[in-house]
């Protein structure tokens, strides 16, 4: 088959349907109508390769995070296809992956730009499904995008492996049977942070919340409030700030006179960098209130944000999904293979994306199929280890991973430019586990297209 050969040579992912149809073409050139029921499931791979869709922000303020996600995906594909040093495939507790692709098919990929906008992200995902025949979509750097693309994948009959998304909604009220999240969420951040905050700052504290005025901000504020009020903290006020805000001075300035002695910044990305910079500028980090040192807390940290905020992060508590300085075998293997290839350590976004790709591949391998329903079944209730977060459970009820959560602090004396956060505590999974029904929502049933 000349076409088949051609494809292999070019290493291009074309619609698998055509590969199947190529045989018919050779016989006669008459138009061939391909019925949509010819396949067991949407975009079923029939040739020698399988296509994954990596949908990450490549423009806009999260573009660097997206670039890091893409690096992780490329590394994961290399490892799945048997290249490189295998990374975390060697430390992964499941040994189903052979380094010969997925189910013997070579892994190929297409990329797209979410622009961190639900519309653009869905357009990009649809093109991957309709044009490139992608059998799984993964990536993203915000919950808005994750929720939107997850719903699309559910409708199209494709598996969605969420990238960086921290809102409770993704596996809460907006959960879907075809969607899976490895990253932790607002609830876990709150549950992990509260005991550490109590131990370091005491239980007699009054918090002032600044909250980004959108879904993620709401769930994060709620989680941190609930868990800190449970340890005895009071909440002085919670003020919502526009997502598009750039200068937070008018929100920060009144904090010191409010009677609060802790400022919680429920901000992410540029919001967090700018509000923290303002807070430090207004002297909050060195201030005194109620006879105590004034403190600042950032519930969700990322190294890229810490880099943007520079010196300002020093000594400030937050939580994170994973950090390169972890010393378990999985993390070490991942940092080594990522660092060797790219020259710097991976971010938490890169880590979760790499892990999600491996988990998907492993689930296909164990299920013996790419059918979303079979893959979902293999992932539901799956327990694994060796991927950098210790023993982890993919809970069946809401498709959320439960694992240890890291509480981190901005490092006072960094050794190098990547050494910005230090791990204060590894909160065990049991402490951040919650009942699957508390956020409402309905998984529905899996859709195979």
């Amino acid at each position: 088959m000349s076409i088949e050969k051609n494809l292999d040579k070019l290493q291009l992912s074309r619609r698998t349907v055509l590969k199947a149809g190529a045989a018919g073409m050779a016989a006669g050139a008459a138009p061939m109508i391909i019925p949509s029921t010819a396949h067991a499931h949407m975009n079923e791979p029939t040739g020698s390769s399988v296509t994954l869709g990596f949908n990450v922000p490549q423009s806009g303020p999260y573009a660097d995070e997206g670039a890091d996600e893409l690096r992780a995906y490329e590394l994961a594909v290399e490892h799945l296809n048997g290249g490189g040093d295998g990374g975390m495939m060697g430390t992964f507790s499941s040994k189903a992956l052979q380094g010969d692709g997925i189910l013997g098919r070579k892994v190929e990929y297409v990329t797209g730009d979410t622009q961190t906008k639900p519309d653009a992200a869905r357009a990009s995902a649809r093109s991957m499904i309709e044009k490139d025949g992608a059998v799984m979509i993964t990536g993203g750097s915000s919950s808005g995008v994750a929720v939107a693309v997850q719903a699309l994948c559910q409708e199209a009959g494709i598996i969605f492996m969420a990238g960086l998304t921290h809102s409770n909604d993704t596996t809460g009220k907006d959960k879907k049977a075809n969607g899976f999240r490895h990253f932790f969420n607002s609830y876990m951040s709150g549950a992990a942070l509260a005991p550490i905050l109590a131990a370091n700052y005491g239980t007699d504290r009054t918090a002032y919340h600044l909250t980004a005025d959108y879904n993620w901000g709401y769930t994060t504020e709620e989680a941190v409030r609930t868990s800190t009020e449970a340890i005895g903290w009071k909440t002085a006020a919670a003020v919502k700030t526009p997502l598009s805000q750039t200068d937070f001075s008018s929100y920060i300035a009144p904090v010191q006179a409010s009677g609060a002695d802790v400022l919680v910044l429920n901000h992410y990305g540029a919001n967090m960098v700018n509000s923290l910079t303002s807070a430090v500028q207004f002297g909050l980090r060195n201030a005194q209130a109620n006879g105590k040192n004034f403190e600042i807390v950032v519930p969700l940290y990322s190294r890229l944000m810490a880099k943007g905020a520079g010196e300002n992060v020093k000594g400030i508590f937050g939580s994170t999904n994973w950090h390169w300085s972890l010393s378990d075998e999985g993390s070490k293997a991942f940092v080594k293979s990522f660092g060797t290839k790219y020259g710097f350590p991976p971010s938490q976004a890169a880590h979760t994306c790499y892990v999600q790709t491996l988990l998907y591949a492993d689930a296909c391998q164990r299920a013996g199929s790419h059918n979303p329903c079979a893959v979902a079944e293999a992932l539901e209730g799956f327990e694994f280890d060796g991927l950098g977060n210790g023993p982890t459970l993919y809970r069946a009820e809401d498709h959320q991973c439960f694992k240890d959560v890291l509480v981190v602090k901005g490092k006072e004396n960094p050794d190098n430019e990547f050494d910005l956060l230090e791990i204060v505590e590894v909160t065990p999974a049991a402490q951040v586990t919650y009942d699957a029904s508390i956020f409402g929502g309905d998984l529905g049933t899996c859709n195979a297209g």
Binding site: D64, E65, V239, K240, S250, A253, A257, F282, G283, G308
Partner: protein, 345 residues
């Protein structure tokens, strides 16, 4: 509500307003007077901010030595970097120079911004004076995207901290100054510097246009370009220089802004819409209007973000600037101080 809380928001408003006023000033020189809709003005602000970052990087160019006693994240010997300026001037003077990179960037940015302004006007904008506004929008928007993407290519999309010199860390105690008691009204030094800097620049531009022959000719040219041309005065050259000045004003606003918010490549677009609103609310063709509108909107924005105000009217902090713009434009047909007949059709 306490008086100090209100005064604090007035200070915040003046501070925000000075950024708005500075950007709007440059924009209105081009937009309200040369009649060019310049969507690339935000990009000029952004390039100014990256002049700070670039100078900081240039001053921090370092020699690299390996330190066998420490290891990097992969377990290899750690790289120790020593900036050349520290080698040349000694560690203390050297680190002081790096520390002062943002103020130094003013000197660095002026020639760069003037050059960019001249090049932009001569190479591109000049050919669009007589073209419809639609064409001006498309070409300057295209240029803005290109400039942004060039910066993104070299500096990435993440924010890059460019802090103020250590000497400016801390706050000035207005409370003590005005007799309200120490510590009641503190305001960060750098933000006060930004406000004063904005006042100086605004005053300089006004004086330049008001009291020099050059300025007089430009003002005459704005009012009636053809007649000035017929008088044998080379108005084109002066317009080029005005464009350069406008670019420099935008750039300097960006340079000084970096310690307030670490810049990334989209910072110009964030300011673009607001600066158009400020210019139009101020009134087309009026420099004073733009400055006034900048401060008014800055102060309104600050007050709208107070907790007590948001509790009263939820969401007001999201829309206050636009709401104010609508009210002002409906009450005053040509904005605060607009001239008749400029960009009205």
């Amino acid at each position: 509500m306490e008086l100090s809380a209100i005064l604090l928001q007035v200070l915040n408003g003046l501070d925000k307003g000075s950024a708005y006023a500075l950007i709007a000033l440059g924009l209105t020189l081009i937009f309200g007077t040369l009649g060019v809709v310049n969507f690339a003005h935000g990009a000029l602000f952004m390039i100014g901010a990256f002049c700070s970052v670039t100078l900081q990087r240039l001053l921090s160019i370092s020699t690299v030595t390996l330190d066998e006693t420490k290891t990097d994240f992969l377990g290899n010997p750690a790289k120790i970097t020593t900036p050349y300026v520290e080698t040349w001037f000694g560690p203390e003077v050297g680190s002081a120079i790096i520390d002062w990179s943002v103020p130094l960037a003013i000197l660095f940015a002026i020639p760069i911004m003037l050059f960019i302004g001249f090049a932009m006007e001569r190479g591109l904008i000049k050919h669009f004076y007589k073209r419809p506004h639609a064409d001006q929008i498309l070409v300057t928007f295209g240029l803005a995207i290109v400039l942004q993407e060039v910066i993104k290519y070299f500096f990435g999309a993440n924010q890059i901290p460019a802090p103020a010199p250590d000497a400016f860390i801390g706050s000035f105690d207005f409370g003590e100054l005005i007799g309200m008691g120490a510590g009641t009204l503190m305001y960060p030094y750098w933000r006060i510097v930004y406000f004063l800097f904005a006042l100086i620049i605004i005053a300089a531009v006004f004086c330049f246009l008001q009291f020099t022959t050059f300025g007089m000719v430009v003002r005459a040219g704005m009012a009636d370009r053809e007649t000035v041309g017929l008088l044998g005065i080379n108005i084109d050259k002066r317009f080029t220089i005005m464009f350069g000045i406008a670019a420099a004003v935008a750039g300097l606003a960006g340079v000084m802004y970096t310690p307030i918010n670490p810049p990334n490549y989209t910072i110009g677009m964030d300011f673009l819409v607001i600066s158009f609103v400020v210019v139009v609310v101020g009134g087309m063709g009026s420099l004073g209007g733009a400055v006034l509108a900048g401060f008014i909107l800055g102060i309104l924005e600050s007050f709208a973000s107070m907790r007590q105000v948001i509790e009263l009217i939820p969401g007001i902090n999201q829309v206050v600037i636009y709401l104010a713009a609508i009210v002002i434009l409906l009450a005053r047909p040509r904005g605060l101080l607009g001239r008749k007949g400029v960009m009205e059709s």
